[in-house]
Amino acid sequence: MALTREKILYQGAEAKIVLTEYLGRKAVQKRRLHKRYRIKEIDEQLISLRTKEEAKLMAAARKQGVSVPIIYDVDLKNGVITMEYLEGSRVKDIFNLLGDDERRDLCYRIGESIAKLHNGDIIHGDITTSNMILYEDRLYFIDFGLGEINSEVEAKGVDLHVLMEAIASTHAKYTGYFTYVIEGYQNIYHGDVKAIKSKMEEIIRRGRYR
């Protein structure tokens, strides 16, 4: 592949997100970082395992009808996932700018999408408005790096709770809109929504910070 100009979009603790080109198309690469503090055996194992897991979760999410970027390439050895670049906007950046009806509608759709994930026992692990992109009126979920397959009520409750906290901290004026997320969720989720709701209340009481 010809060397193209790259741009770092985001640098986290575990990976960096790079804007690059793949076969002449704009693409995003998630490159997991090697860590000097851990021995090579653990480092390589973790990086390849997590890359594989993340790609698998993205494929599973798509199967459940949730939009995710198209994966172009997975390089397990180097821990790189190359995927479609989405032109749209992060939900985080537009959430506060929407009209009330639009915002309510968006929250409803967010809830529906989370329910679709949970119907397949897919736990995203970090549902925040930074990890959702609105592109051509489709809602995409990105960054499944902390995700897992888990059918437990606890895991689903925590997953929703993370979003509740994210809305409360990043969109404090619209904290109440989380109700619409739950409404959308209720409509689509096959399991016991009541159990998940009371689990969420328990998590809130536990007072953990995530």
Partner: protein
């Protein structure tokens, strides 16, 4: 202001005397005695008996180190929790007895927060760290956020120290096993794969312990297993700590708890800090382990910020959570 602190959450009964000097903590005395079970793990009642037996002697040892008499002490602080009920009750009773005899003010403090505050107190450059607190029972990543000390990650089952001790018992090492395991580990570089369990920001060690036990039963050399336990468990600890640092955008990391004495853990945290351009701090060993000085120091901070406790409010709380503490001094 001179404060006497009494620690008694688990194995250790400790008495520390501190004073403040330009906002920094000066440790005048820090004396402790540790209950060691003859076999098996800690028995809460026996540990409490040990504490009761040694309380008077440790208190007078601490006082005589400073040359002060009880009359010159301005405040008594004690570990309110979290910890083992009988041990907590013994330490609190000792504190109340002193208060009743010498009519001093009294404050019960949170043990986990004390581990963090003592680091800030004795290391002037350490202002706003993420604390990796690793001891027998506790394994938490703590940082100050939105007005409180919050737990950003913690063990979902057993503490890392407990994990090391349990493995030590299986293979016949003395208690505490951490230092012996460290020594054995330094003789090996053969890695045996063990479960690496990080869930989001949390960690778990029981799977690793079971797998390590199986290696032992299969006849793998103890040195190799010790090496593999350290490398796996510590890597998970460092990963969670780094995540908390990235999340809170803090650029300091502090170690606390008994396992902070482990050189391999220190090295790994230091490397992580270097790679993020962050500062790395670790207090002297006697302030890392459970000790009275940290209890005294947190008591001092709370008192100076206006906290007062009536005698009837000095109950213990076995499940005293880090984020239940009203932080009035920051």
């Amino acid at each position: 202001m001179i404060v006497l602190g009494i620690e008694g959450t688990a194995h250790t009964f400790g008495v520390g005397i501190v004073e403040d000097e330009d906002g920094c903590c000066r440790v005048l005395a820090n004396v402790m005695t540790t209950y060691t079970p003859k076999e098996g793990g800690i028995h809460p009642r026996e540990a409490a008996n040990h504490h009761a037996e040694h309380a008077a002697e440790i208190i007078s040892q601490a006082l005589s180190k400073t040359g002060f008499s009880m009359r010159e002490v301005d405040l008594i602080a004690f570990s309110k929790g979290p910890g083992l009920g009988p041990c907590l009750r013994t330490a609190a009773t000792a504190a109340r007895a002193l208060v009743a005899t010498y009519s001093k003010p009294i404050i019960g403090v949170n043990h986990c927060v004390a581990h963090l505050e003592i680091g800030r107190g004795v290391i002037p450059e350490c202002n706003d760290p993420v604390l990796l607190y690793t001891s027998g029972a506790n394994t938490q990543v703590i940082a100050f956020a939105e007005g409180k000390y919050r737990v950003f990650g913690e063990t979902l089952d057993i503490g890392i120290g407990n994990c090391l001790d349990k493995f030590g018992r299986i293979v016949g090492l003395p208690f505490p096993s951490g230092p012996v395991i460290e020594k054995l580990a330094s003789k090996s570089s053969r890695y045996l794969p063990l479960p690496y369990s990080v869930k989001g920001m949390d960690i778990a060690f029981s799977g690793l312990l079971t797998a390590a036990e199986q290696y032992y039963k299969r006849g793998e050399p103890v040195e190799d297993i010790c090496y593999s336990i350290q490398e796996t468990a510590f890597a998970a600890l460092v990963e969670v700590t780094e995540r908390a640092m990235a999340h809170t955008e803090k650029t300091q990391v502090l170690l606390g708890g008994g396992v902070a004495a482990n050189n391999r853990l220190r090295e790994m945290v230091k490397t992580m800090a270097e790679d993020r351009n962050a500062e790395f701090f670790v207090p002297p060993r006697d302030l890392c382990v459970d000790n009275g000085a940290m209890i005294a120091w947190l008591g001092l901070l709370m008192y100076k910020s206006g906290v007062r406790m009536k005698l009837e409010e000095t109950t213990i709380d076995q499940r005293f959570r880090t984020d239940m503490v009203e932080v009035t001094w920051r």
